[in-house]
């Protein structure tokens, strides 16, 4: 085995250039996989990791302040409760430190028992009078560290630790920075009554049975006002919604990367086998078995693939780790750290295995023939038909490339996918950038509202250029009719509300008739409502309206405590309800222009709650991640082109040598190769554009359609940019390969004929 490895190593050294080229290709593919794996693994496991470390409770209940004893008596009676602790949460608390200040701080006064947060720097609260623990988001945003001072409601406090609790996104993505103080310490100084609580943290024995706990909690909640439950699973869903699009994209990207790796490596290996048919023939003549021949090639491939794959994965992981970690921090999650090594090792195994198989298979096939036949250099495939190509060096290059139909098709396919991915990422990044300033917010598809306008306004609004649609939007605050203290919003549009607001349906279906409702998961949780249940809403008018639940939706607003209904029954219950007008703009319409146009007609508008300043940063991080992935993808495209041309040059070395012997210089050789590369680009670019516009763009937009309208078809500018980029890559590859060709003496190249 050692002898075989030594032999393989010496053969690889003997053709160092080709080996390095193969290694570069593997490294590029591995880098792409490393990037995708780092981001996808970090996002997919970030919540669990943070929740585990923070000891996040399975159930968090918020309510109006109650006596701790009173609440504890009820919680103690619940089934499946492992432990519990209580906090007081005060909001709108002024916080200030070193020139930074906010009036919207959230102070959590913690008592005894489990904390539900992880200390990531410094220490936890000891109970001393002036101690405060700050959330990591605040520490990062304000540059705070243990030992610094923080003013909490005017009381000077000493920061002893930095904490992470993934029950919400981090400040500034969350508008309220959170700090923790001990009830016996700073809590007492701030005047918090230790006998009161408005937040219960509950850890279950068996999280899979939390639903039974929740039902019982609801059953004993009478008299506790404004009760809101948040389950650990619910938190995860909310956070995943933010990252779901990126994860899905990266998974698709990883799959494409694997495909690229397979096709590229397969083509390389096939050409290598073809080139070395003589050697295989000799080996077979000497009595090597087919397995022995394939194993030799496999071993060589492994020796190249292991370091190249590891290097590529490492580079990809390093490139993506920073943006990925920033993304996780925005979500109050923790980066994977050393845990990332396992999936990367898995990727390395996949890469090495793929490379080995891609090399061994053609060798195994070639070795199946008789030695004499192999030594004669029989082709593995049939010759292609001749097609009309332009004359000259450029046309010759195109002919040489086209002669290998299978390889050209594979290269074009891979390059087309790569182009489509780049176009998609450009479109997505542009869209994310736009979202930062666009007044369309997640979950809503209309951009403007007109408040307090008479009915006659609606047709006027619809006539304004740039307005795609407009409809009355009714919104009513309601309370559960059974004195649970549960409040929620009823939202109604005449007709299909998904044209304006379209939270995804997680269970059941959309509203179709007047007596039906789609309710948010938060409301379903609070009321124990499922598909087929009835909800009874007490309106501001004092009248009760009932709706049959036909669907549960993942609504983001009002903590999911919303119900989408048709206006008929709502207006029966409260005839005085007046609607606003929701205005959806046409794609590309300028909101400012439409607003101005409406104002000129005497109609005042308001922008729909846009991406907040805090979520701008989040969207910016998402765009960064996409850019990193796009850069790696561009490198892959370059490699594919270079590899394709290098293989052509390798196979046609004698032809190129004849040209060179006839007086052709490096420029002419480069022209030949550029002709080949241009053919590939000419085929791949339109295919990539079609793929992006017809398949990938609509598919990803469809995934996001429930949260936001994402027109992800690349525009002309992006297509032009991508095609020009491809041509530039083609030219780069041609020049590089021409340079390599020029280094081989003509006599040596001719001798191979």
């Amino acid at each position: 085995m050692i002898a075989s490895a030594r032999g393989a190593w010496s053969r690889l050294r003997g053709r160092r250039g080709r080996s390095l080229l193969a290694a570069a290709g593997i490294a590029a593919v591995a880098a792409m996989m490393g990037t995708a794996t780092t981001v996808a693994y970090g996002l997919a496991t970030g919540f669990d990791r943070a929740a585990e470390r923070a000891d996040l409770p399975d159930l968090i209940a918020r309510f109006e302040p109650e006596q701790v004893d009173e609440v504890d008596a009820r919680v103690e009676a619940l089934p499946n409760v492992a432990s519990r602790s209580y906090r007081q949460e005060a909001t709108e608390v002024p916080l200030a430190s070193a020139g930074q200040a906010t009036s919207s701080g959230a102070v959590h006064v913690v008592g005894d028992g489990r904390r539900g947060y992880a200390i990531v720097a410094g220490d936890d609260l000891s109970g001393a009078g002036d101690e405060v623990v700050v959330e990591r988001g605040l520490a990062d945003a304000w540059g705070l560290a243990p030992g610094d001072r923080l003013s909490v409601a005017g009381v000077d406090a000493r920061i002893v630790g930095v904490a992470v609790a993934p029950d919400n996104v981090a400040f500034p993505l969350a508008s309220a920075p959170r700090v923790y103080v001990a009830s016996q310490g700073l809590g007492a100084q701030l005047g918090a009554d230790p006998g009161l609580t408005n937040m219960a943290l509950i850890w279950s024995q068996d999280p899979s049975r939390l639903d039974t706990t929740l039902v019982q909690a609801r059953a004993v909640s009478f008299g506790i006002d404004n009760l809101r439950f948040l389950t650990r699973a619910g938190v995860q869903v909310q956070l995943d919604e933010a990252a779901g699009i990126v994860i899905a994209l990266l998974i698709a990207f990883s799959a494409a990367a694997l495909g690229v790796a397979g096709v590229t490596l397969g083509a390389t290996a096939r050409a290598e086998v073809q080139r070395r048919l003589e050697t295989i023939g000799v080996m077979r003549g000497l009595g090597f078995s087919r397995i022995g021949v394939a194993a030799q090639y496999g071993l060589e491939a492994v020796i190249v693939a292991v370091p190249a794959g590891a290097l590529g994965l490492g580079v990809g992981a390093l490139l993506a780790y920073g943006p990925s970690a920033r993304l996780l921090e925005s979500l109050n999650e923790l980066p994977p750290g050393a845990a990332l090594l396992a999936p990367l090792a898995g990727c390395l195994l996949v890469i090495v295995g793929l490379v080995a198989l891609a090399t061994m298979w053609p060798a195994w096939r070639a070795a199946s023939r008789r030695p004499a036949e192999i030594l004669r250099g029989a082709e593995l495939t049939a010759r292609p038909r001749r097609l009309p190509y332009p004359a000259g060096f450029f046309g010759l290059g195109a002919r040489l490339v086209a002669a290998r139909v299978g390889r050209t098709a594979a290269t074009v396919s891979v390059l087309a996918v790569s182009t489509a991915l780049v176009l998609l990422m450009l479109a997505l990044a542009t869209r994310l950038d736009a979202l930062q300033n666009d007044p369309a917010s997640l979950g809503k598809r209309y951009q403007l509202t007109v408040n307090g306008a008479p009915d006659s306004t609606l047709p006027v609004v619809r006539d304004v250029p740039g307005v795609a649609a407009a409809a009355p939007r009714y919104e009513a605050s309601a309370a559960d009719s059974f004195q649970l203290g549960e409040t929620f919003k009823l939202i109604a549009f005449p007709g299909d509300h998904t044209e304006y607001e379209s939270p995804p349906v997680t269970e059941g279906r959309r509203v179709q008739t007047a007596g039906e409702a789609e309710i948010g998961a938060g409301l379903a949780n609070a009321l124990g409502a499922r598909r087929g249940s009835t909800i009874a809403a007490q309106l501001g008018s004092g009248r009760e309206v009932r709706f049959r639940v036909v669907g549960i939706v993942a609504a983001l607003g009002n903590e999911g405590r919303v119900a989408y209904v048709r206006p008929t029954r709502l207006l029966e219950g409260d005839p005085g309800l007046t609607p606003a007008i929701a205005v959806r703009l046409s794609p590309g319409a300028d909101p400012a222009q439409v607003t101005s146009e409406l104002r000129s007609r005497g109609i005042d508008t308001a922008a729909v709650g846009a991406a907040t300043s805090s979520s701008r940063e989040f969207l910016g991080v998402l765009a960064d991640v996409l850019r990193v992935v796009a850069i790696v993808n561009i490198l892959i495209a370059l490699f594919i082109l270079t590899q394709s041309l290098a293989l052509t040059a390798l196979e046609r070395r004698p032809t190129l040598a004849v040209l060179r012997a006839g007086g052709a210089g490096r420029r002419e050789v480069a022209l030949v190769l550029a002709g080949g590369a241009t053919l590939v680009v000419a085929l791949a670019a339109p295919a990539g554009v079609v793929l992006e516009r017809a398949v990938l763009g609509p598919a990803v937009a469809d995934m996001a359609v429930d949260y936001v309208t994402l027109p992800l078809s690349a525009d002309v500018g992006q297509i032009t940019f991508a095609v020009l980029g491809l041509l530039l890559l083609a030219l780069t590859a041609a020049l590089w390969v021409a340079r390599q060709v020029g280094r081989t003496p003509i006599a040596v190249a001719l001798r191979e004929e």
Binding site: R74, E76, A77, L78, P79, N80, V81, A82, S204, Q205, D206, R209, D211, T212, T213, L214, V215, Q216, A217, R218, A219, V220, S221, F222, G223, D480, S481, F482, L484, E486, A526, L527, G528, A529, R530, G532, S533, T534, I535, A536, R546, R548
Partner: protein
């Protein structure tokens, strides 16, 4: 090699036999009698899921007499208590009061549609035990309704039982379309049991008690909600077409049972039901029975003779062992017990008549929980033959010694069949060298006819027997209770 093959064959055959036994549901760990001595339902993980676990051995309790080797069996009998067989669809119920918490938590239970099935499953387990007598220590039904009593008695008699009231199918507060989130609705709430309510309303078989059974009067047999003497108005509510959904906010609920008088209830109902209502299918069989009528039906159904208005009587549990049933249920309202002077005198006479026989006294309310009962205990204190005073009502298992100059006896209360842990109690009286030993252990009901679902729901109930500790401690459940006596038998 051959030996190895034989051994392998034996092992395989054993494995196949075990697998077949398991497949046929013949779990080796499940005692046919439901005896908790060998296995019982436990939640070892604390996750709210009950599994069959190890049994609880008898604990020797020698507070009244030193432990002694048990000898000859004198009697084997059983007690079931507080089955509260309920017409959960009845408009005479007030389930919306449950949310107010104690002391109104018995107005609604998640498992209340399955009370008949639980009683039938208990009958099945007790039959397997093979007792010489079974005593029902009161609250066999929940709301003094005729149809509830008919259902309970037909379960104890045996045959096919129809638990449905009103129109066919379920028509109560647990329907999936009830928007009130404070009720457990099995079609939509966890643990989900789709179709449970429809199934609960279907006729089910009951084997009927094989042993003679003896009823003790409870407050729920006689009183509306176990508290208020029925009147024409309450009875018309029970048989009416409207059910109260919730009380008008102006109505104040008295928390002191003494304030909950028939007059107050009549006043409340004088202007109709005091709050929003919903239509419900009427059922004449829901009429509330007068106390004499209840006593007459119980006497007729059990092995009890006589015509007295009060259900005080004595009976032979076994040769040499006498049972005395005391009727402490108030006819004028209120859940607490009452024993009049005449009943105390009657008790004294019965103890005298028992002579040298061992005596077990049964009542619904524990005798130490009300004034008349304490006077009765004073009488029992003088009788050396009294082994135990057994009661229900508290829905909680408890065994405490009562010391007396004549050697003392044991005060035993047993949990309710309607609440967790839904167990009945077995007794075995054994002769010892210096007296007797009363062995007692809890009996789990079978899983038959949805009774297992009822146990699960009762366990989860945050206002039920689990958080209230109704199962008691080990000393309150399976114990060997020693009693010395100067009487030589």
């Amino acid at each position: 090699m051959r030996l190895a093959a034989i051994l392998l064959g034996v092992v395989l055959a054993g494995a196949v036999a075990l697998a077949v036994a398991d497949w046929r549901g013949g779990s080796a760990g499940e005692p046919p009698t439901g005896s908790t001595l060998s296995a019982t339902y436990v939640d070892p993980d604390g996750n709210g899921r009950l599994d069959r676990g190890a049994g609880e051995a008898l604990v020797d309790r020698s507070e009244l007499a030193p432990s002694a080797r048990p000898g000859r069996q004198l009697a084997l009998f059983a007690q079931l208590s507080d089955a509260h067989v309920v017409d959960e669809e009845s408009p005479a119920r007030l389930p919306f009061l449950d949310r107010l918490g104690a002391p109104l938590t018995s107005t609604f239970r998640p498992q209340e549609a399955l009370t008949g099935q639980v009683l039938a499953a208990t009958v099945e387990s007790l039959n397997a035990l093979g007792p010489q007598a079974v005593v029902s220590t009161g609250d066999l039904i929940d709301n003094a309704q005729s149809n509830e009593l008919s259902q309970a008695l037909s379960i104890l008699r045996g045959g096919t039982v129809d638990p449905n009231g009103g129109a066919p199918g379920y028509d109560g507060v647990q329907s999936a379309d009830n928007p009130d989130p404070l009720y457990y609705r099995p079609d939509v709430d966890a643990p989900r049991h789709p179709g449970l309510l429809e199934e609960a309303e279907r006729p089910f078989p009951s084997p009927g008690l094989h042993a003679p059974w003896y009823p003790v009067m409870g407050n729920h047999e006689l009183l509306f909600q176990g508290e208020v003497r029925p009147s024409a108005r309450t009875s018309s509510v029970a048989t009416g077409r409207r059910a109260l959904l919730r009380l008008d906010p102006s109505v104040e609920i008295p928390t002191d049972e003494r304030a909950l008088t028939p007059d107050l209830v009549d006043r409340l109902l004088s202007g109709g039901l005091p709050g929003p209502t919903a239509g419900t299918p009427p059922d004449r069989s829901r009429r509330q029975l007068p106390a004499e009528g209840v006593a007459r039906r119980l006497r007729g159904a059990g092995d009890v003779g006589g015509r007295r208005p009060l259900l005080d009587y004595s009976f032979d549990i076994a040769p040499g062992v006498r049972g005395i049933a005391l009727d402490a249920a108030r006819r004028d309202g209120g859940a607490k017990g009452r024993l009049g002077p005449g009943q105390i005198e009657w008790l004294s006479r019965e103890l005298d008549r028992a002579g040298r026989r061992w005596v077990v006294v049964f009542s619904h309310q524990p005798l130490d929980s009300f004034a008349g009962g304490r006077r009765a205990l004073a009488v029992l204190d003088r009788s050396p033959g009294v082994v135990a005073a057994v009661a229900g009502h508290t829905h909680r298992n408890s065994i405490v010694p009562r010391r007396s100059p004549s050697g003392g006896y044991w005060l035993v209360t047993t949990g309710a069949l309607i609440d967790y842990p839904q167990q009945s109690r077995a007794f075995r009286l054994l002769q010892t060298a210096n007296g007797v030993a009363l062995e007692t252990w809890m009996v789990d009901h079978s899983e038959a006819n949805l009774a297992g679902v009822s146990r699960e729901l009762a366990f989860l109930d945050a206002q039920g027997g689990r958080p209230r500790g109704n199962a008691g401690t080990r000393l309150d459940r399976n114990a060997r209770l020693f009693k010395a006596s100067s009487i030589r038998r």
